[in-house]
C-alpha cells in the first residue's frame, strides 16, 4: 500500500485526489526538452514502479505529428503501462510526459499528474486492450459520450432544453453518426453496444475515441482477435485516420501489421526501451530479434 498507484487500483481512494500539476518529479530528474517543432508527445525519462516491480525503466521517446507510431514488445514488456501513464490512469514514479497541443508550435503541457478527463480534453484519446464500451448504451450514444467531452451543456440547459442543448445535441449526433460511418458501422448506430459483433465493438471503440476530437489517438492492440481480412480492413482504417490529421500510437503484437503500417517504432522489453527507429531498421536490430521476434526478419 506504500505505492500511490497501487492504492489507486485497490481502493480508488486516490481517485480524483488533488494532484499537483507537473507532479511525478522525483529528485534528480532533469527534463530534456525536445527542440523539434514537429514533436507531439514527449515521453521523458519515465519510470514507473509498482512496489518492487519496475514496469517502466527510464523510458524516453518522442511521437511526431502525423505519424503512425508503433509501441511493441513481448508480453509484459510495459506497453499498456506506458499507455496508462500517458492517459493518466497511472502516474509515473519519476519523469514526465509532455503533450504539445493541437497545432505545431503550441506550448508543451505536462500531462503527468493531470486527471484523466483533462488529458482527454487536451487531445489524447485511447481505446482499450480488452474492450471497454458502455454495453447498455447504443453505438451512437457511446460515440456521443466521446463527443460530449467538448460540449458545455449544463444540467440546467438540459433540464430546460435551452438553445445550447439543441445545438450541441444536434451537432453531437451528426459528428457521432459520421464517425460511425467512417469506421464502417453506420447501419448499427441504434444497436446496443453489447449486441454488436466483436469486430464492430473494436471499431466502435475507435469511433468513440475519435469523437473526443483527439490530436493523438492511442490504439491498444486494436487487431487482437481479428482474422487476416479484418486486419487488412483495420490497417486501411488506421491509415485513413492518420490521413485526417490525427497522429496514431499503436500497440500491437502482430508484427506484420506493425511493420506494414507504422512509420516509426519503439521496442520495449522488461520496461526498457531496447530499440527505436523505422521498421526496416528495427526489424534488423539484433537486440529486437533476440528479445521479441525470435527468428530472422524474413518472417515478415
Amino acid at each position: 500500500m506504500s505505492d500511490p498507484n497501487e492504492l489507486d487500483e485497490l481502493t480508488g481512494v486516490r481517485e480524483d485526489a488533488p494532484v499537483p500539476t507537473g507532479g511525478g518529479v522525483s529528485v534528480g530528474f532533469q527534463p530534456t526538452y525536445s527542440q523539434d517543432p514537429n514533436v507531439l508527445l514527449e515521453v521523458d525519462d519515465v519510470t514507473l514502479r509498482f512496489g518492487g516491480v519496475v514496469a517502466l525503466d527510464h523510458v524516453a521517446f518522442d511521437i511526431k505529428r502525423g505519424e503512425i507510431f508503433g509501441l511493441i514488445g513481448p508480453n509484459g514488456a510495459g506497453k499498456t503501462t506506458c499507455f496508462n501513464a500517458m492517459t493518466g490512469v497511472y502516474r509515473p514514479t519519476s519523469g514526465e510526459i509532455r503533450f504539445h497541443g493541437r497545432n505545431p508550435g503550441d506550448k508543451a503541457t505536462v500531462v503527468t499528474g493531470k486527471r484523466k478527463h483533462e488529458i482527454t480534453r487536451l487531445g489524447v484519446a485511447r481505446t482499450f486492450q480488452n474492450i471497454r464500451l458502455f454495453p447498455e448504451m447504443t453505438a451512437l450514444e457511446n460515440v456521443m459520450v466521446g463527443a460530449d467531452a467538448h460540449h458545455k451543456t449544463s444540467v440546467l440547459s438540459a433540464l430546460f432544453r435551452l438553445p445550447r442543448f439543441w445545438r450541441e445535441e444536434r451537432s453531437g449526433k451528426d459528428v457521432a453518426y459520421e464517425l460511425l460511418k467512417f469506421v464502417g458501422i453506420g447501419p448499427r448506430a441504434n444497436t446496443v453496444a453489447r449486441n454488436l459483433s466483436y469486430g464492430e465493438q473494436r471499431r466502435l471503440e475507435i469511433a468513440r475515441a475519435l469523437a473526443t476530437n483527439p490530436t493523438l489517438l492511442c490504439l491498444d492492440e486494436p487487431a487482437a482477435g481479428f482474422n487476416p481480412i479484418e486486419k487488412a480492413d483495420l490497417l486501411n482504417l488506421i491509415r485513413s485516420i492518420r490521413d485526417t490529421g490525427v497522429t496514431v500510437l499503436l500497440i500491437e503484437h502482430d508484427m506484420r501489421l506493425v511493420m506494414g503500417v507504422c512509420d516509426r517504432l519503439v521496442v520495449l522489453e522488461f520496461g526498457r526501451k531496447i530499440a527505436e527507429g523505422v521498421p526496416a531498421v528495427v526489424r534488423n536490430d539484433p537486440e529486437v530479434t533476440r528479445a521479441y521476434l525470435g527468428e530472422p526478419a524474413d518472417a515478415s
Partner: protein, 408 residues
C-alpha cells in the same frame, strides 16, 4: 436479397468499400427481427417505441387522464372496488402512492442512472419533512414567526439538496460499497437526531403543520383534513413535472454521462466525463425529489415525529426501484406505486388462522408487508433480474437517416 424493401431484410447503404464489415449484414438481420418478449411490459414498450409522435402524445395524455380519474375508481362496481383500498381511504392511499412515486423517481436517478447505491435515501426525505415542520409548526422552537407551508417548501428542498452535497462531496470520490455504508450511516444519524435532539422533539413530534394554500370560492380551504383528493392531485402534478424533468435530463449529455459512469466509470472518465461532478449532480437531484416528497408529506399529514423515518423506509424505496426496474422511469413509477399500494390494500384484511380470543379477526395482513416484499423481491430477482419493466435504450431519432440505420 431479392427484394430490398422486404421488412425482414434491411437494406444496406452503398457505403465506401473500406467500411464494409463482412459480418454486419447477417448481424443486422438477426437484430431486425425482435422476437416478442414474454414480458407484457416489454411488448407494450416495443409497440410504443415504433409509434409516430402523435400516437405517443395520445398515449401520454390518456395516461395522465387515467391518473387523474383514479380517485373515482372505487365507484366503479366490480373491478374498481376490488382495486381500490378498503382499510385505507382510497384518496389517501392514492396520495401515498404519489409521494412514494416521487421518492422512487428521485432514487432512480441515483441508483438507476448513475449506479450509486444509496441506502440512506429516507434521510433526505427526513430533512425535507423536518425542515417544513421546524419552520411552520406551532410546536417548533426554532422560528418565532411561523412560515406558511409554501414558503417552507423551497427551504426544505434546498436543505435536502445541501445535505446531499455535503454528504456526496467527500464520499462520491469513493467507489461502490463505501458509498452504500456512508449513506446508511447518514440516514441513521438523521434518525437518531430526530429521536434524541430536544429541538426535534423525538416521539412527541410536531403538530399543526399548515396545509398547502388555496380556497374554494365559498371560502373553504382546498387542502383540508377530510378529503385527500386535492393532495393526490397536487402530488400527481408534481410527479408529472418530475417525469418531464428527469426524462429531459436522461436524454441529454447529463443522462449519457450518468449512464457511462454506471457502465464503466474509468472508461467514462478517459472519454472526458467529469465523473465526480456528474455523480454529485445525481446525488443532489435525488435529494431534491426526496426533499420535495418530504415537504408534501408534512403538508398533508400535518404531524411529523421520529417514528416515520426508520431504516425500512430507505430499504423500501430502494426495493421499489429495483423491483420496478432500475434505470427507467416507468419502472420507478411502477415500483414506487407498488410499495405504497400493497400495504394500503392489505390494511383491513386479516390473516386467516391467526385469530385469538382478544382479537378474533386475526392479524392485519399489512403487518406482513415486509415478508411479502421480501418474497416478491426474491421472485422478481429470480424471474426478472432487471425488474418488472427492464430498462431499454431508446433508438435515437436520426432525422433523415432512418433508412440507412438497421431497425432495432
Amino acid at each position: 436479397m431479392t427484394n430490398p424493401s422486404t421488412p425482414s431484410e434491411p437494406t444496406r447503404p452503398p457505403g465506401p468499400a473500406v467500411d464494409e464489415v463482412p459480418a454486419a449484414p447477417s448481424a443486422a438481420v438477426v437484430s431486425a427481427q425482435t422476437p416478442p418478449s414474454r414480458n407484457p411490459f416489454t411488448n407494450i414498450r416495443t409497440w410504443y417505441a415504433k409509434q409516430p409522435n402523435w400516437i405517443k402524445w395520445i398515449v401520454r395524455l390518456a395516461c395522465i387522464a387515467a391518473a387523474f380519474a383514479l380517485p373515482y375508481l372505487n365507484s366503479v362496481p366490480g373491478i374498481g372496488t376490488q382495486i381500490a383500498t378498503q382499510g385505507t381511504d382510497w384518496n389517501t392511499a392514492l396520495f401515498h402512492i404519489s409521494y412514494y412515486v416521487l421518492l422512487a423517481l428521485g432514487l432512480n436517478v441515483v441508483v438507476g442512472y448513475a449506479g450509486l447505491l444509496d441506502l440512506g435515501y429516507a434521510g433526505f426525505f427526513a430533512v425535507g419533512t423536518y425542515s417544513v415542520a421546524l419552520l411552520t409548526s406551532p410546536d417548533s422552537s426554532v422560528v418565532t414567526h411561523k412560515w406558511t407551508w409554501l414558503a417552507a417548501v423551497p427551504v426544505a428542498i434546498g436543505l435536502a439538496m445541501l445535505s446531499g452535497l455535503i454528504l456526496g462531496w467527500p464520499t462520491l470520490r469513493l467507489r461502490g460499497d463505501y458509498l452504500a455504508i456512508v449513506t446508511l450511516g447518514f440516514a441513521e444519524i438523521i434518525r437518531i437526531f430526530a429521536d434524541s435532539l430536544p429541538v426535534l422533539r423525538g416521539d412527541r413530534g410536531f403538530g399543526g403543520i399548515p396545509h398547502p394554500p388555496g380556497h374554494h370560492s365559498d371560502g373553504r380551504p382546498i387542502f383540508g383534513v377530510i378529503d385527500a383528493k386535492p393532495y393526490y392531485y397536487l402530488g400527481l402534478s408534481l410527479v408529472i413535472l418530475a417525469i418531464i424533468a428527469i426524462s429531459n435530463l436522461d436524454r441529454s449529455r447529463v443522462g449519457r454521462s450518468w449512464l457511462a459512469i454506471r457502465e464503466d466509470e474509468e472508461a467514462a472518465e478517459i472519454m472526458g466525463v467529469r465523473t465526480v461532478k456528474y455523480k454529485l449532480w445525481a446525488f443532489t437531484i435525488g435529494a431534491f425529489f426526496a426533499g420535495l416528497a418530504g415537504a408534501l408529506f408534512a403538508g398533508e399529514n400535518g404531524f411529523v415525529n421520529s417514528s416515520t423515518f426508520v431504516l425500512q423506509l430507505s430499504i423500501l424505496i430502494l426495493a421499489g426501484v429495483v423491483m420496478g426496474g432500475a434505470g427507467n422511469i416507468p419502472g420507478a413509477i411502477l415500483g414506487g406505486a407498488l410499495i405504497s399500494y400493497i400495504p394500503d390494500r392489505l390494511t383491513g384484511l386479516h390473516m386467516p388462522f391467526t385469530g385469538t380470543p382478544g382479537n378474533p379477526q386475526g392479524t392485519d395482513l399489512a403487518e406482513y408487508k415486509f415478508i411479502l416484499f421480501g418474497l416478491v423481491i426474491i421472485l422478481v430477482m429470480i424471474f426478472r433480474p432487471q425488474g418488472l419493466i427492464p430498462s431499454r435504450r431508446r433508438a435515437m431519432e436520426l432525422a433523415d437517416r432512418e433508412k440507412e440505420v438497421a431497425p432495432q
